[in-house]
Symmetry: C2
C-alpha cells in the first residue's frame, strides 16, 4: 500500500487513473485547481478513508509526504490551454519544478504526462521516441508544446543531478467517458455534434491525421510505466490512424446521425499527421492497446448520450 | 534619459552593453548573481551616479521601476550551463517569468537574449528565423536550449495576453574581450591554448561549423532591436562560417603559435553546422556586422595576452 499523489486527478485522464489506484488499495491524494477538472469526476471517492482531495494550484509550492507522484496537472485541449497561455506555461514550468522539488525532498518516484505535441508537426511518421520534433516556439500551440518539452528536460535534469526516479509518458490523443463536454477536442465535439444532429466541424480540409487511444489503455500504460524499470520517455497511444474527415464520417455512421459535415478555417500550426511508434512500450512495458477505436467510441458515445440526457 | 535594467550585466555581453548604455547617458541598473559574471567587468562604473549594481538572482522576484529591460541573465557556455542544469532551467523559466512580471507591472519594454541553440542541430542551413529547429528535449544541452525556447514562448504569451512590448534576439556565437578565460567556449579556449603553446582541443573531427560575431556588433544589434519597432525574433550573428578545425588553424596562424592540434571525443548533440540568415536584421534594423572575424580575433587575442600577462 503506497501513498500516491495524482496532480490533475480531477481531470479526464487523472480521474480514471485515480479509480485504478483506489481499486488497488492505495492511499490516493488528488491535487487539482479545478481549471478543467471537475469535482464530480472523483465524487464517488469523496468519503473513502484512503482518498483525499487537495484543492491547490501546482504553481504554488506544497509540502506532502508521498511515495509516488503522477504529475498530470495541465490543461490538455487546445481551446483550454490557449485560453490563458501564460498560466499554461506557468503550470508546466513552475508546476513541474515544484513537483520535482517535492519528489526530491521525499524521495518519491515521479511520472510526467508529456505529449505527442512535443513532436509538433512531425516530419517523421510514425513518431518514435528518438524523434526530436518540429515545434514552433512562438505559435498558438507553443505554450503547451514548449511547456511540456521543458518539463521533460526538467525531469531528466533532476534525475541526473538529484537522483530523482523519473518516468515520462508521451501520450497520444486519448478519449473516453469524463471528457469535458465543452472540452473542444475532436472526439467530444464530433460525438456531441452528431448526437445532436448539428454540423460536425472540421478544421481545415480534414486531411490531417490523428491516432486515437481509449482511456483505459492509457491508464494501464501509465501504471505499467510507473511500476516498471524503464525511465526514458515512452510513447503511449493507439497507432490506429484516421484522417479527421474519415473520423467524422465514422462517428456519423456509428451514431446514425443526420449531421452535415462542415469545413471551417484550419487552425494555425495544426499538426498534419500523428501516429505513435509504440515499439518501446511493447518491448519495455509489455504494453499495447487492447480496446479498439470502435469499442471505445461505442462506450464514449453511450457516455455522452447519458450526459446530454441529464443536462437536457 | 531612460532607466534601463540589464540582467546578467556583469557577464561578457552584458558588460559591453552596459558600457554603451552608460555612454549614451542612461541610468543603468545591473542585476547579476555573479555565477559566470564578474564584478570587474563593471568596476569602471561602480562609483558613477547613473550606475547601480544589484546582486540578485533572477529566479527570485524583485521590485524595481524601469523603462527597459535587457534580460541576459543565463550562463551561456556549455560547461557553465551544464554545471548545474536544474539551475540553468530555473534561470530561464522562473527568471524570465519574473522579468516579464516586472515588465508587465511597470510597462517596461523587455528584450530577451535567446540563442541560435533554439535551432539545435539544424537541418536547414543557414538558419532563418522561420526555422522551427531540431532540439533534443533530454540531452546534455537541453537545459539551455529548451529553457531558451520556452523563454521565447513566454515572451510572446505575455505580449499577446498582457500587451508587454517584447523583443527577442537569437544570438549566434559571439566573442571578444571579457569572455571568461575559463569559459570553455571555443574562441577563448583556442586563443588561450595557442598563446600558451598548449594543445588546441578540438571536440570531434572539427568538421562542425560555427559563424563568429564580434561583441561590438552584437551590442549594436541588441540596441537597434530594442529601439526599433520590429517585435518578432531576429537573428544576430556574423554569417562568416568556419569549420572548427579551420578556425583552430586560423588562430594558430594569427598567434604564430607552436600548439599542436589535438582531437578529443566529440560532445553529445553538438550541432554539426550553424550560420545565421540575417536578412531580417538587415531589413528591419538596418543592421549588419561591421567587424571582420580577423579584426575581432586580433582585438581578442590582444585582450587575452594582457589577461595572461597579469595572471602570470
Ligand atoms: N487526453 C489526451 O489526449 C492527452 C494527450 C497528451 C497528453 N495529455 C496529458 O495528460 C494530462 C491529463 O490530461 P487530460 O486529458 O486529463 O486533461 P484535463 O484538462 O481533463 O485534466 C487536467 C487536470 O489538471 C488540472 N489542472 C490544470 N492546471 C492546474 C494547476 N495549475 N494546478 C492544479 N491542477 C491543474 C485541471 O483542473 C484538470 O483536472 C495532461 O498533463 C495532458 O497534458 C493528455
Ligand atoms: N556569447 C554568446 O555567444 C551567446 C550566444 C547566444 C546567446 N547568448 C546569450 O546572451 C546572454 C549573455 O551571454 P554571455 O556570453 O554574456 O554569458 P555570461 O555567462 O558571460 O553572462 C551571463 C551573466 O548572467 C549572470 N547570471 C546567470 N544566472 C543568473 C541568475 N540566475 N541570476 C542573475 N544573474 C545570472 C551571470 O553571472 C553572468 O554575469 C545569455 O542570455 C546567453 O544565453 C550568448
Ligand atoms: O516538498 C516540497 C519541496 C519543494 N517544493 C518546491 O519545489 C521547488 C523546487 O525544489 P528544489 O529543491 O529544486 O528548489 P530549491 O528549494 O533548491 O530552490 C521549490 O521552489 C519548492 O518551493 C515543494 O513545493 N514541495
Ligand atoms: O471540432 C473539431 C476539433 C478538432 N478538430 C481537429 O481534430 C484534430 C485533433 O484535435 P484535438 O483538439 O482533439 O487534439 P490535438 O491533437 O490537436 O491536440 C486537429 O487536427 C483539429 O484541428 C476538428 O477538425 N474539429
Ligand atoms: O515587479 C515585479 C512584478 C512581478 N514579479 C514576479 O513576476 C512573476 C510573474 O508575474 P505575473 O504578474 O505574471 O504573475 P502573478 O503575480 O500574476 O502570479 C511573479 O511571480 C512575480 O513574483 C517581479 O519579480 N517583480
Ligand atoms: O575547446 C573547444 C571548445 C569548443 N569546441 C567546439 O567548438 C564549437 C563551438 O563551441 P562553443 O562551446 O564555443 O559554443 P556552442 O557549442 O555553444 O556553439 C563546438 O562544436 C564545440 O564542440 C572545440 O572543438 N574545442
Amino acid at each position: 500500500r503506497k501513498k500516491i499523489l495524482v496532480t490533475g486527478g480531477a481531470g479526464f485522464v487523472g480521474s480514471h487513473l485515480v479509480d485504478k489506484l483506489m481499486m488497488e488499495g492505495h492511499e490516493v491524494i488528488v491535487l487539482d485547481n479545478f481549471f478543467t477538472g471537475q469535482r464530480k469526476n472523483v465524487d464517488h471517492w469523496m468519503h473513502h478513508p484512503r482518498f483525499s482531495l487537495v484543492v491547490h494550484d501546482v504553481t504554488e509550492p506544497i509540502m506532502l509526504e508521498v511515495d509516488e507522484i503522477y504529475h498530470l496537472a495541465c490543461p490538455a485541449s487546445p481551446p483550454h490551454y490557449q485560453y490563458n497561455p501564460v498560466k499554461t506555461i506557468k503550470t508546466s514550468t513552475m508546476g513541474t519544478i515544484n513537483m520535482l522539488g517535492l519528489a526530491k525532498r521525499v524521495k518519491a518516484k515521479i511520472l510526467l504526462t508529456s505529449t505527442s505535441e512535443i513532436y509538433g508537426d512531425p516530419k517523421v511518421h510514425p513518431q518514435p521516441e528518438s524523434y526530436w520534433g518540429n515545434v514552433n516556439t512562438i505559435g498558438p500551440r507553443s505554450c503547451y508544446d514548449e511547456g511540456k518539452r521543458v518539463a521533460e528536460t526538467m525531469m531528466y535534469s533532476y534525475k541526473n543531478q538529484n537522483n530523482v526516479d523519473v518516468r515520462v509518458a508521451r501520450i497520444f490523443n486519448t478519449f473516453g467517458p469524463r471528457m469535458h463536454p465543452n472540452d473542444g477536442r475532436v472526439v467530444s465535439n464530433f460525438i456531441i455534434q452528431s448526437l445532436q444532429d448539428k454540423p460536425m466541424t472540421i478544421y481545415g480540409d480534414g486531411s490531417q491525421t490523428r491516432s486515437f487511444q481509449y482511456v483505459s489503455d492509457l491508464v494501464d500504460g501509465l501504471h505499467a510505466l510507473m511500476n516498471g524499470k524503464y525511465d526514458l520517455p515512452v510513447n503511449l497511444g493507439n497507432p490506429d490512424e484516421y484522417t479527421v474527415k474519415h473520423f467524422a464520417e465514422y462517428i456519423k455512421e456509428i451514431t446514425g446521425s443526420k449531421s452535415e459535415i462542415s469545413f471551417l478555417k484550419a487552425t494555425q500550426d495544426d499538426p498534419t499527421q500523428r501516429k505513435p511508434d509504440i515499439s518501446t512500450a511493447k518491448r519495455e512495458l509489455n504494453w499495447e492497446p487492447k480496446v479498439t477505436v470502435k469499442e471505445g467510441l461505442h462506450k464514449t458515445i453511450a457516455y455522452f448520450s447519458r450526459v446530454l440526457d441529464e443536462t437536457g
